[in-house]
Amino acid sequence: MKKQSFFRKFLYSQKVAPYVFIAPFVITFLVFFAYSIFSMVMMSFQKVAGAGTTFIGTENYRVLSNSIFQKSLKNSIFYTIVSCALMIPIPLVLAVMLNSKPMRAKSTFRSILFIPALTSVVVAGVVFRLMFGELEGSFMNQIIGMFGKAPIVWLRTPSTVWLVLFFVCLWRWTGVNMMYYLSGLQQIPADLYESASIDGASVMQQFRYITIPLLKPTIVYVLTISIFGGMAMFSESYMIFNGNKSPNNVGTTLVGFLYRMGFEQNNLGIASAVGVVFLLIVLVVNAIQLAINGTFSRKEN
């Protein structure tokens, strides 16, 4: 009885309580995240076959110099760069236009543009795959048919494959990014614009010298999530091609290659090496982002 009350006192003390509160995170972090990273790094130096594993040094990493890995890495980087080039300025311009004074029915349009974000990658993938079907009657072929163009086999032509993937990305994420910008815009005091227009600054000048600098934290945030989202892109490609396969690997991404090695070919060592490379990329990008944001907050203070 006495022991129990001691235990109770211990558990209920102000010193111990915070550890109890964060315990769920610590446990899931150690079991699922830390252990996964650890075993992935270990496996990347091993040849894993059935029950037996042998240490083979950096052999798995050397295999990564093969052309398919290079191609999938290039694909991911290409996708990331272009999607950032689209997904940062376009939603920004839309947000500024939507937020401008003469605009009416703001919240209606805001909601409509947000709707695609409610769909899963599967539904989006199904619609876009069929819209860009190769039949003459498929929606996009009908559209280009109106301009007298012959039907295109969208999903087998390298250049149009990317077009489709960027369409999916634009469609699903424009509304979300726009929402980030809108909440950033609403925090900019209105009198800044008023005094600027009294001083005779044009709309473009106001955009350049007030909106952009004050939105920089939001822009950096959107850039960061776009980079991570872009480098991790896989499901979209999986849906568009109905599986982790694309003609001549045009749509194979970094994660697609990892999936092929780890899940389709059971080549755990190489898949783990890909995972480690991916992790390093993520860490480097984040270090850069922290550095940029860090210099920023220091300036603000």
């Binding site: 209920y12 309580a17 915070p18 550890y19 109890v20 509160f21 964060i22 769920p24 995170f25 899931t28 699922f32 995240f33 252990y35 996964s36 990273i37 236009m97 401008s100 003469p102 605009m103 009416r104 349009f109 805001r110 909601s111 409509i112 543009l113 947000f114 709707i115 695609p116 409610l118 769909t119 899963s120 990658v121 599967v122 539904v123 993938g125 199904v126 619609v127 069929l130 819209m131 009657g137 498929s138 929606f139 469609w171 509304g175 979300v176 929402m179 980030y180 909440s183 939001t218 999530i225 480098m231 896989f234 499901s235 994660v255 999936y259 755990l268 783990s272 995972g275 992790l279 993520v282």
Partner: protein, 278 residues
Amino acid sequence: MARKNRTMTVLLLIFFLIVAAITLLPLALLAVSSLRPGSDLMRYGLNFSIDWNTANLNEYRMLFSGANNYFIWYRNSLIITVVQVALALFLSACVGYGFAMYDFKGKNLAFACVLLVMMVPTEVILLPLYRLITRMHLINNMWGIILPYLVVPMLVFFFRQYLSGIPKDFLDAARVDGCTEYGIFLRIMIPLMKPSFAAMGIYQGMSSWNNFLWPMIVTNSITKITLPVGLQSLLSPYGNNYDILIAGSCFAIIPILILFVLFQRYFIEGMTAGGVKG
């Protein structure tokens, strides 16, 4: 000046009407096509040409007839979403509360770990996590889908942010009144956190309901898969499942659209929670 503003308004409205039309177009295509037989799609492709005289709800009737696995997937997704939202909200709120209200040894290190998990895409650890779940015998089990994401870093971050606005004197007052540490959390803080639960519940609900990659890896039995995984499995090159695929895709979105119309504010707040403050 007023005149100039009026033309601006009209131009902006026209522009946004076009943008809205393009945005809604893919979903409209889906909705229209769900009223045609799936074989039409296979023959003519997905488009707007529809003969309204023959348009019918047969595809939906087929969906509801129970002659397929659609509602098993629907139920699986629903159960997983509800369980995951409830657990993730409660546990993440606990963790966020711990970080916001206490000073303790190792706090910064632990919080750095939260940020680390938040920034590393789950795709990075797909393979080792799958092996771990296999060894735990949780393949084809809903807990295999749920367990790794019991505590969601994004939610922890949000709750911590939300709670940091509450003065700590408040806690001391409750302690003086004889409330225990856990009592404060359960009886005082949780009611205070209600508005943030709504936004975060929707954020988590959307990501659970729409999650595709992880459930696809953890489940493969036709009766254990979730709705997105099931719909994907219908996308065969022969098009023989297009009836259920199109109507089923529509029916997967409709409940969310209704919820969105009703609780717009929370949706937008929840799904963009990472911004600005992050």
